[in-house]
Symmetry: C2
Subunit: 293 residues, 2 copies
Amino acid sequence: VTGHKAQTEPIVFVNGRQVPPDGAHVSARDRGLTLADGLFETMRARGGVVFRLDRHLSRLFDGLRVMGIPEPSALKQTVAQAVSAAGAADQSIRLTVTRGPGPGGLTPPLNPTPTVIVVVNPMPSFPGTIYTSGLRAIISSGRRNTRSLSVGLKTLAYTDAVLAWVEAQRSGADDAILLDEDGHCSEATASNLFMYRDNVLLTPPLTCAALPGITRASVLELAAVAGVRTAERAFDPSELSLAQEAFLTSSLRGVAPVSSLDGRPIGNGNVGPVTTRLIAAYKALVDLECSTT
Amino acid sequence: VTGHKAQTEPIVFVNGRQVPPDGAHVSARDRGLTLADGLFETMRARGGVVFRLDRHLSRLFDGLRVMGIPEPSALKQTVAQAVSAAGAADQSIRLTVTRGPGPGGLTPPLNPTPTVIVVVNPMPSFPGTIYTSGLRAIISSGRRNTRSLSVGLKTLAYTDAVLAWVEAQRSGADDAILLDEDGHCSEATASNLFMYRDNVLLTPPLTCAALPGITRASVLELAAVAGVRTAERAFDPSELSLAQEAFLTSSLRGVAPVSSLDGRPIGNGNVGPVTTRLIAAYKALVDLECSTT
């Protein structure tokens, strides 16, 4: 409170330059808009430090290679500039890279000029109760596709995730878990899924169309450090319903407990001890890695 | 040639107003860009008349209802204005409706303000040889998802279609046919698929994750008028490889013959008589419906 102004407006950078947050930023012919021809990362920052930025960028670069989109230069510097412009408070960062404008049709331009967008917002304030009471989840009626050409990539094609989210809200739930075409649990709308049972922490393998989440990897590391046995193994909703504990992981929510599935409690319906330890351990990890001292 | 200027620049309308074609049109926070949270239609026009505009709008409105995006007002008028601004020559029209800007995350705004974009370009000039020599198609390695929540909707999520197109180009082909998860032929990257064999014209049913194409419907009508037996029935690539004729349908290319599949000729490798008749019949239909006299 000594001259610090709280960030209220988003900070927006397009192609390396800060632009006003309101108004237009991108061409109507940008293939990110017309064809979802691009990728993105969602990250968190504190004190100007982006949590596991290199892992996010590495995943993004992998995706760009698969899609044949040239790697934009100075991406890391642009993120740093945007985060710095936003100040030291907890922030969410959305980094989007598209193949850039195109003449129409599917044919990618021979020499594409990718569009790079960085939007920094104050961290959204999740109801604190999600960490103490847990989320109500449903099994979505939609399926994920393990044989999509973009499986495992964080592309802009989030239409189905939006529709599953809407499906969850309509049934009075907080989030939806999607199955793959074989009926295995894949992931939630924008989070990875974990279940704990019989002393093992399970998460679906990437072959179940689960995204290789950065928080997912962090939690697997933390569990190993804490002596919790982990496994990447396929399971279906009937096995999930028998879990003692379950939670979702994502960059912004971190570790978010699931208290019920399709209206029936997971375990005793309270947040269990393993989940509670991992919530704390993940918070401590962010504190540690985003410490600026 | 009496004072008419050929249209060289695209005509762009955003939210009902014409804007310069270059530069920025859409917010970086538009959910069409961030989440592929929107729908589109591709249409053709001649002499200022859009071919089967009402059917395109009807399909779009169906999709908006499923996605819970409010129907923008005056859509038809905006398309008419954009087409009129572009002149009388053959044009392609891309109409995009997104859920509009959002604050971030999946949660749709309670009262969304949809973004409406109309881009009109001169009709692309396809090599005339595609109608006389046919397209070389491959079977894509990626699969389509019959159980996606957005199946049958023309959403902005075309990432997989772009990747399948790139896959086709890399193998020296012109287009790729995607299968559904059961191994049935679904459609090409941005076209419906037809095969002709034993006096029946077949196209995959919508349950094989085929989009309800406007040109697909037109061709089914034309075939019926011409006394060609038609059926919507699932078939797999091995049956397709035995076809006497095959073709793809889309709004811009119309009826485009397929001459080979994975390097092996379809039929005798020439454009067959049924396909030839339907190419001519479809062109005549466009001439008729887009006649302004």
